[in-house]
């Protein structure tokens, strides 16, 4: 059982590594059942590049619970977390390397904080952004707004040479978001449940 899980996570990690190495904007579509496997493999992938500048945007889970088992990631000063849901959920514990956004509907603030995070960082280092997840934003915002947000975001990250990994949960996907994800990604990784 453990062996199977490890193989799955390793496989995912490799697919992510391959996609990210040659594409500036990667979209991932994942069934909700496999969400935690994907997160595991993403974290492991992040751990292979501890010197890069990482920005991790979470709209799915509060920062605290998301990284519970990954203290090495939490303590890596090269990783900046942007948490959009702790405040709205009334969780008030604050960590220094995490930026808290009042609510996932403050899309402009999210854009601002993402781009601010890369300011004053070493220009020679590789820069990455993980959006976890694009489809969750639609729970809190109208789809056309999220589309516009994502368009601005990818335009800006491309200009600043930031590699993006945009997660979407299949069950949350609607036509608008699917379309913009395909439009703005250089590569789409699609996981089917049959993959397991």
């Amino acid at each position: 059982m453990i062996l199977i899980t490890n193989t799955l996570i390793d496989g995912l990690k490799e697919r992510i590594a391959n996609a990210v190495s040659t594409n500036q904007s990667t979209g991932i579509i994942i069934p909700s059942n496999n969400y935690s496997d994907l997160i595991c493999s993403l974290f492991e992938y992040m751990d292979t590049k501890p010197d890069a500048i990482w920005v991790y945007l979470t709209i799915t889970k509060p920062f605290e619970s998301l990284f519970d088992d990954y203290s090495n990631l939490i303590n890596n000063q090269n990783i900046i977390f942007i948490d959009c849901i702790s405040h709205a959920a009334g969780i008030s514990k604050e960590k220094s390397n995490c930026i808290y956004i009042e609510s996932p509907s403050q899309l402009e603030s999210i854009l601002l904080e993402i781009m601010n995070s890369y300011k004053n960082t070493d220009d020679k280092k590789n820069k990455y952004l993980i959006i976890d997840s694009l489809s969750s934003l639609v729970i809190y915002n109208d789809a056309p707004l999220v589309t516009e947000f994502f368009t601005h975001l990818i335009n800006r990250t491309r200009l600043s040479d930031i590699t993006t990994i945009s997660l979407t949960i299949e069950e949350e996907l609607n036509d608008n978001i699917r379309k913009i994800l395909y439009l703005k990604s250089d590569k789409i990784i699609k996981l089917k449940e049959s993959f397991i």
Binding site: S105, S109, L111, L112, P144, E148, H152
Partner: protein, 269 residues
């Protein structure tokens, strides 16, 4: 003869003012808030008096403070006349922001002056001014600005000042006198104007309806409602002496960076 002398002094001080850091760029006074300066095609035209309009809590005081601190960073002296908030409260709030640098206040590059204390010293009734009181206060204001040779001046708020005047006529008179005083001082001024939360179709930029006539520019701090969440906005309504953007920007206030602007997503308006 006396007038001649005054004129020369004035010219000299204007000449000096031209050398300030933010003036190098085609006569603009940089606010130091990047996106705002971009929207203003470089900054507020030097010597303009700008009305900063918004309801309570919209960020007027914070923005004005940031404008002065950023000015100090560029070597420009500024003065902040407060009448809405007592000095200690103002300082306490502003100390929470990353942009605040105590050094500039200590070095006299940013001067914060409580107008209520001034009027007390002048022996004025601090709640109600008559014509003479208002002129006396205006004189003192002007003297302070001249003596400190400030390039940036803030009055927070013009609404609270007018509130202490007893008739519409006095308010009108005061506003126009203030306007011509400011024009003579050559510094770039922000006057804050506090308005009640606006109802659609009923937008006013000032409580008394005349403050905007002496203003060379109007900047409006408002908000848009997005599914019950409030997004702060900033819009330049007018600005003499420069081309400028008229689109609404989203405005963020954070302890770390103070006020920051970013384009407002249009589907959300």
């Amino acid at each position: 003869m006396e007038e001649d002398g005054a004129l020369i002094i004035n010219e000299k001080s204007n000449y000096k003012k031209m050398e300030g850091d933010s003036m190098k760029e085609n006569g603009k006074c940089k606010t130091g808030i990047d996106e705002l300066d971009r929207k203003l095609d470089g900054g507020i035209p030097k010597g303009n008096a700008v009305l900063m309009v918004g309801s309570s809590g919209s960020g007027k005081t914070t923005l004005c403070m940031q404008y002065l601190i950023n000015g100090a960073e560029m070597g420009e002296r500024g003065v902040f006349f407060t009448i809405t908030e007592p000095l200690f409260k103002l300082t306490k709030n502003i100390e929470n922001f990353g942009f605040y640098k105590k050094k500039y206040v200590e070095d006299g590059l940013v001067n914060i002056i409580d107008l209520r204390i001034i009027s007390e010293r002048l022996g004025l009734n601090s709640e109600k001014y008559n014509v003479e009181d208002a002129s006396a206060l205006l004189e003192v204001l002007k003297d302070i600005a001249d003596e400190l040779e400030v390039k940036r001046l803030v009055i927070d708020s013009i609404t609270a000042l007018c509130y202490r005047l007893q008739s519409d006529e006095m308010i009108r008179d005061f506003i126009f006198k203030l306007g011509s005083s400011l024009a003579g001082m050559g510094c770039t001024t922000i006057l804050t104007s506090e308005i009640p939360p606006t109802k659609p179709g009923e937008l006013k930029y000032s409580k008394y309806g005349i403050e905007e006539f002496i203003a060379d520019g109007i900047i409006f701090l408002g908000d848009v409602n997005r599914r019950g969440d409030i997004i702060r906005t900033l819009q330049i309504i007018k600005m003499r002496g420069t081309s400028h953007s008229r689109t609404k920007s989203a405005m963020n206030i954070s302890s770390k960076n103070g006020i920051e602007l970013t384009p407002l997503l249009k589907s959300g308006e």
